[in-house]
């Protein structure tokens, strides 16, 4: 069995940031990811990020990803790719499949930075080829440079739906409409406005009713919803479309935390069941930390800050940082997190996170 001081599962923005923070303090870090490249979703994010300079604002996700990777390399983090963590056991041991072989890794501390999975929606025709998730489309368009279709109907107007719609326009597709079931656009108004300026309609109180086609999607039918979410007969609209993109939010990928016996709380504002954690990002199981979307659905910017918190806390717990040094570093991160969670878009998440922290502390 191999051993390391700090094992991190998931090399997305949270995992990378935690690895850098801990390794710089002197911790031996092993960063594990099931993909062939590290970076998580960052390398699909070709748009400029919001925030302040300290949050990498104005920089594109792909460039933030490249920067984090070079920092990870520079501080001597061992990165294990193409490696699936399939289970966790007592004594902080992880089961990993790599090269079709099973191996075990024992760590003093473990960070689960496993991210999230996309939510789906079942409707007549939803199994037809051409109905796909926004993540898949971003991979195809922004990473593989393949256009999945010519005419796309977007379902969901959160930031993901709006940003992916814009990126589809940039890639040469037409977006026939963006549908939103609630009466309000979910994501930032500026993202919506960018689409509207190019003539993309955004239809609130409207959802997908049906996908039609023989071998693949040929048509999409939308329908209006009343304030009780009931379909309004006669409000159907038909679109010529070869792709229906689902951007319906995310759910934390928390299997490993369940397996470890972490206590969970159901918080809709954070995407469903999330592991209870304190402001060090430590769960109710000592030595197991969470950061990023698995600890509650937010953004890459918040994921990076949470990763840093976990990295600092682990370095402190392992004796690499004094309590004073750790406290001052954490304070700076917490201040930036507060900023990112401020304003009307962040308030609900902020309150939900505080509730989680209080729960963990009262135990």
């Amino acid at each position: 069995m191999r051993g390391t001081e700090f094992a991190i599962v998931g090399a997305g923005p949270a995992g990378l940031s935690a690895a850098i923070e801990a390794a710089r303090a002197g911790v031996q870090v092993m960063l594990i990811d099931e993909n062939e490249k590290p970076g998580g979703q960052l390398f699909k994010q070709i748009h400029k990020f919001f925030g302040s300079k300290e949050h990498y604002a104005g920089i594109r996700g792909i460039d933030i990803g490249a920067q984090l990777l070079s920092e990870v390399e520079a501080c001597g983090v061992e990165v294990m790719l193409d490696s699936v963590v399939w289970g966790g056991f007592a004594d902080h041991t992880l089961g990993i499949i790599r090269d079709q072989k099973n191996l075990q890794l024992k760590a003093k501390k473990i960070l689960l930075a496993t991210g999230a999975a996309e939510n789906a929606l079942a409707f007549p025709g939803w199994t037809l080829p051409g109905v796909m998730g926004a993540g898949a489309i971003q991979t195809l368009v922004n990473v593989q440079r393949v256009l999945p279709g010519r005419r796309v109907l977007m379902v969901g107007s959160g930031n993901v739906g709006l940003i992916v719609s814009y990126q589809l326009l940039q890639a040469g597709a037409e977006v026939v409409a963006v549908l939103e079931a609630v009466p309000k656009v979910g994501g930032y108004g500026v993202h919506a406005s960018k689409l509207r300026r190019h003539g993309v309609p955004i239809l609130t109180s409207t959802t997908i009713k049906e996908a039609r086609g023989k071998e693949r999607v040929e048509k999409a039918i939308s329908i209006g919803l009343d304030h009780d979410w009931r379909e309004i007969p006669g409000t159907e609209r038909e679109y010529e479309a070869d792709v229906i993109c689902l951007a319906l939010g995310l759910t934390p990928l928390s299997e490993l935390a369940w397996m470890a016996g972490c206590q969970f709380e159901y918080i809709p504002q954070l995407g469903g069941h999330v592991p209870v954690h304190d402001s060090n990002m430590e769960t109710t199981v000592r030595g197991i930390y969470v950061a990023g979307d698995v600890s509650g659905i937010e953004e890459a910017s918040t994921a990076m800050e949470e990763g840093k918190l976990a990295g600092i806390a682990v370095a402190e717990a392992l004796g690499y940082l004094s309590a004073e040094e750790a406290a001052s570093r954490k304070e700076a991160v917490l201040r930036r997190l507060d900023e990112l969670r401020s304003g009307p878009f962040g308030e609900a998440r902020n309150q939900a996170k505080e509730r989680l922290h209080q729960q963990r502390c009262s135990q």
Binding site: K48, F50, K184, G189, V190, A192, R196, G199, R341
Partner: protein, 165 residues
């Protein structure tokens, strides 16, 4: 608010924004028009302005305030805004035409001298625009800024140009 309902800022909403220049200031020459209406934690515009003409301050969710007397209309804020919500308008360009500078992240880029459809906030073609300049320096980080000349009456309505395929 119509921005939340359908993604388009209404004239009433625009009039309320602290990033909008006054009519008097618009008549005096190039000036930034900041169409940022939601309290998002974000401030690269403030950082980008060399004249201190954009103020966000703390908390970072404050809407950007245009200090119109300080704004030189240099346009450095246009590419810096991650929301592509800042434009520069120059009503003094000529007797009949005004200048609009806008962010444009599509390929191929338009060329100087070309005429192109000018689009309003809802994507409606409202005029023919003449491309005066296309700037795409490294500093803009792949957000080219296109300068177009449009009939004066359209200057506060044109906010994009048609994508060239």
């Amino acid at each position: 608010m119509t921005l939340e309902k359908n993604g388009v800022l209404s004239l009433e909403e625009l009039a309320e924004l602290p990033g909008m220049p006054s009519k008097e200031r618009l008549e005096q020459g190039p000036v930034a028009v900041i169409e940022c209406a939601q309290e998002i934690p974000c401030n690269p515009c403030e950082e980008a302005c060399p004249s201190g003409a954009i103020q966000v301050g703390e908390p970072i969710t404050n809407l950007p305030v245009l200090i119109e007397d300080k704004c030189t209309g240099c346009g450095l804020c246009i590419a810096a805004c991650p929301g592509q919500a800042i434009f520069v308008v120059d009503m003094t360009y000529s007797d009949k035409e005004a200048i609009v500078q806008l962010p444009y992240e599509f390929l191929p880029l338009p060329e100087k001298g070309e005429t192109i459809d000018g689009l309003d906030r809802e994507g409606q073609r409202i005029c023919t625009a003449r491309v005066v300049k296309v700037l795409n320096p490294k500093k803009f980080d792949r957000t080219p800024v296109v300068t177009i000349a449009v009939p004066k009456g359209c200057a506060m309505a044109v906010r994009d140009i048609a994508i060239r395929r």
